[in-house]
């Protein structure tokens, strides 16, 4: 039986050729790259000015702060775009979520929140940081959604929007404050550690919230008196 989504065999053949050519090009590029130390030495020599001791965090939040600022903005943009599609709320499970799942979530969610805080703090000197912590918070949020509890559902839709934008807002505020003494995103060395922690804390909350609500898909209900707010 022919599969419903089959495309003509000529298209398949051309696609196979194109894929092999692109794959081959990547292989050629990987094999042909000269052996270099990359930017490892450059990062290592400037580590003492970064405010943290883990090189990946130093690159993410300080040396290449632009990338991370724009990345948090992309996440917020995806959330706004998804909400603006006005998807229907997820179908309710005809059977209530089982007892085991509900009790597991009750146990796991607090543990996940503590672990997220731990990873956030760890990011300064070991693998960890805002994105890993945010991913754990999002995992807690997805678990809550699975048992049909809306994460932070007691907050008003406006408060949810403020929390979702908090990461970008704090990041931008710090970047602009740093501009007063130098250039955008150039933190003063003595404050760098504290500023990075502030940015990462705000980003963790926003990332966790955004990912969990992207999983749900629908926009938090907006009360009539809140139109145009936030």
């Amino acid at each position: 039986m022919k599969r419903p989504e089959a495309v003509p065999s000529i298209v398949r053949a051309l696609a196979a050729l194109l894929s092999l050519a692109v794959g081959g090009l990547v292989v050629w590029a990987v094999l042909g790259l000269p052996e270099t130390a990359g930017l490892r030495e450059v990062v290592a020599t400037h580590m003492d000015r970064s405010g943290v001791t883990h090189p990946v965090t130093a690159v993410l939040l300080n040396f290449r702060g632009y990338d991370t600022l724009l990345e948090v903005a992309v996440l917020l943009l995806a959330l706004i775009a998804t909400w603006s599609l006005r998807l229907a709320p997820p179908d309710r499970n005809p059977e209530r979520p089982g007892l085991v799942l509900r009790e597991l979530v009750r146990l796991l969610v607090p543990v996940l929140i503590v672990l997220a805080g731990y990873l956030l703090w760890l990011g300064a000197h070991a693998p960890g940081g805002a994105f890993q912590a945010g991913a754990l918070l999002a995992g807690a949020g997805v678990l809550l959604i699975l048992v049909e509890v809306r994460p932070l559902g007691r907050l008003s839709p406006t408060a949810l929007r403020v929390l979702a934008a908090l990461g970008v807002a704090v990041f931008l505020a710090v970047a602009l404050l740093a501009m007063g003494r130098g250039r955008l995103l150039e933190y003063p060395v003595e404050w760098a550690g504290l500023l990075i922690l502030a940015i990462e804390s705000a980003a963790t909350v926003s990332i966790g919230l955004a990912l969990a609500y992207l999983f749900r898909g629908d926009e938090p209900a907006r009360r009539a008196d809140e139109d145009g707010a936030a």
């Binding site: 419903p4 989504e5 495309v7 003509p8 298209v11 398949r12 696609a15 196979a16 194109l18 894929s19 092999l20 692109v22 794959g23 081959g24 990547v26 292989v27 990987v30 094999l31 790259l33 052996e35 270099t36 130390a37 990359g38 930017l39 490892r40 990062v43 090189p55 990946v56 130093a58 690159v59 993410l60 040396f63 290449r64 990338d67 991370t68 990345e71 992309v74 996440l75 943009l77 995806a78 959330l79 775009a81 998804t82 599609l85 998807l87 229907a88 994105f131 990332i207 955004a210 990912l211 992207l214 999983f215 898909g217």
Partner: protein
């Protein structure tokens, strides 16, 4: 052959597989998955190249971490758009109504 090189070549393989599936699969969910396979191939190549001399280079690692978040955001938006397309057209493909192949597909798997 070093382990880093093996990962790099595996990344190239993922890029090729994902690209093929992106072209030949009609269903939007499969296309979104295919884009993710390509993206993970790129990440694998980057991480492998950062690892070649034994001690990892933090810059490509940070780039991949950034890339993962962007890929997740784009995937979530793509999935939401796919749901919207299905709600609006009753189909989970981008075929035009006049497309003969679409007609075959629509008969076979009903409303979706």
């Amino acid at each position: 052959m070093s382990a880093a090189l093996a990962y790099g070549l595996a990344g190239a393989g993922l890029i090729a597989i994902g690209l093929y599936a992106l072209i030949v699969r009609r269903h939007l969910l499969r296309k979104i998955l295919a884009v993710n396979v390509v993206g993970n191939g790129v990440f694998l190549v980057l991480v492998a190249l950062a690892q070649r001399s034994g001690v990892p280079d933090p810059v490509p690692q940070a780039m991949v971490l950034t890339g993962i978040v962007v890929a997740v955001s784009a995937t979530a938006l793509a999935l939401a758009l796919a749901v919207r397309v299905r709600d609006a057209t009753g189909r989970a493909t981008l075929d035009l109504p006049g497309d003969a192949a679409m007609g075959r597909g629509a008969r076979r798997d009903g409303a979706r």
